[in-house]
Amino acid sequence: MSGAQPPRPTLRVMLVDDQPLFRTALATLIDSQPDLSVVGQAENGLQAVELARELVPDIVVMDVEMPVMDGVEAARLIGEQLPAVKVVMLTVSESEAHLFEAIHHGARGYLLKDLRPEHLYDMLRAAGRGETPLSPAVAGRLVSEFRDRGPVRSAPVSGEGPEPPLTRREIEILQLVADGLSNKEIGGRLSITEGTVKNHVHNALEKLHLENRIQAAAYVVRQGMGHRPSPD
């Protein structure tokens, strides 16, 4: 095996939730990770916007339903004022309205509170790398929504010319993206490094003129390239 890896830079995380017990529990977990640090906490959306301006964290982990100002509105304001700050929703709400609104208003990820702690850490690290962390149940709904809406803007449309030639590996990786897997999970599944997965995803997006993983997942489904769901 190779020697020790260089330490990862610490991701500065801000937490926003109106339930102090949950917020404290979450902060305790996140602070237990050497590469993650909770730099501030807020109990509603308005406080979150003000504190984010002051602290400029890397990631804001925010509940959706809160008093004074909800998380969706706060995500919109933070996105407008601090575009480099990545807002990831963390909620019990599986409401499609909340999900679509949050993504539409600039949330970079949408996670459900039923995550295991180690998955949460991985998702936050993924957000730090610019990926879009989504709980699997949520990823499925987004894909369905895009599929139902029809062709994605900027995506190649049937009749406009031949589809770009994706390699077999790129197709394989896009199928796993559509299954809701992170780059790390895909790397583990295919026994390749996370960086290699990232490169394949990047190349596939370029070829397809797509902007992000969600559009890529929608493309896979629309083209009938997706894995069949398991019977259960």
């Binding site: 339930q19 305790t28 977990l29 039923d114 702690p117 949460l120």
Partner: protein
């Protein structure tokens, strides 16, 4: 050297990030031994309760019933928490003599505006008395 009593705590949750976060928080306290278990592992939940922990922190969810846990572990302090907004409850059984006089004494204490205090435990909140009917 003197003996140190260790308090055993079981944290039962449906949301692991809530349960494990609270368990980690409590584990930082000296003299406590904390175990966190989620409802996804009913065998471990059963084993933890069979170990008769001193404190059970339990998340309000379909899998758990705080009062049923209290009935099963009458000596435990049961703390009923939620992942969303809402109250946190502490339940502890208090044994009183089984005669009518003891019940009357409690009623009179409440009528007099005195909280019923369990030694080292949570207080029964004061009761707002209903005005007598005309």
């Amino acid at each position: 050297m003197h003996n140190v009593l260790c308090l055993t705590i079981a944290v039962l949750s449906c949301h692991a990030i809530l349960g494990e976060g609270i368990a980690r928080l409590l584990a930082a306290e000296p003299g406590v031994d904390v175990e966190s278990i989620t409802c996804a592992d009913p065998e471990r939940v059963e084993a933890a309760l069979a170990g008769r922990p001193d404190v059970v922190v339990v998340e309000r969810c379909a899998a758990f019933d705080a009062l049923a846990i209290l009935a099963r572990l009458p000596d435990a302090l049961v703390v009923d928490i939620g992942i969303g907004p809402g109250p946190t409850w502490a339940y502890r059984r208090q044994e009183i003599p089984g005669d009518p006089e003891a019940i009357l004494r409690l009623v009179r204490r409440l009528r007099g505006g005195h909280p019923v205090v369990i030694p080292d435990g949570p207080a029964v909140p004061e009761v707002e008395l209903v005005p007598p009917r005309a």
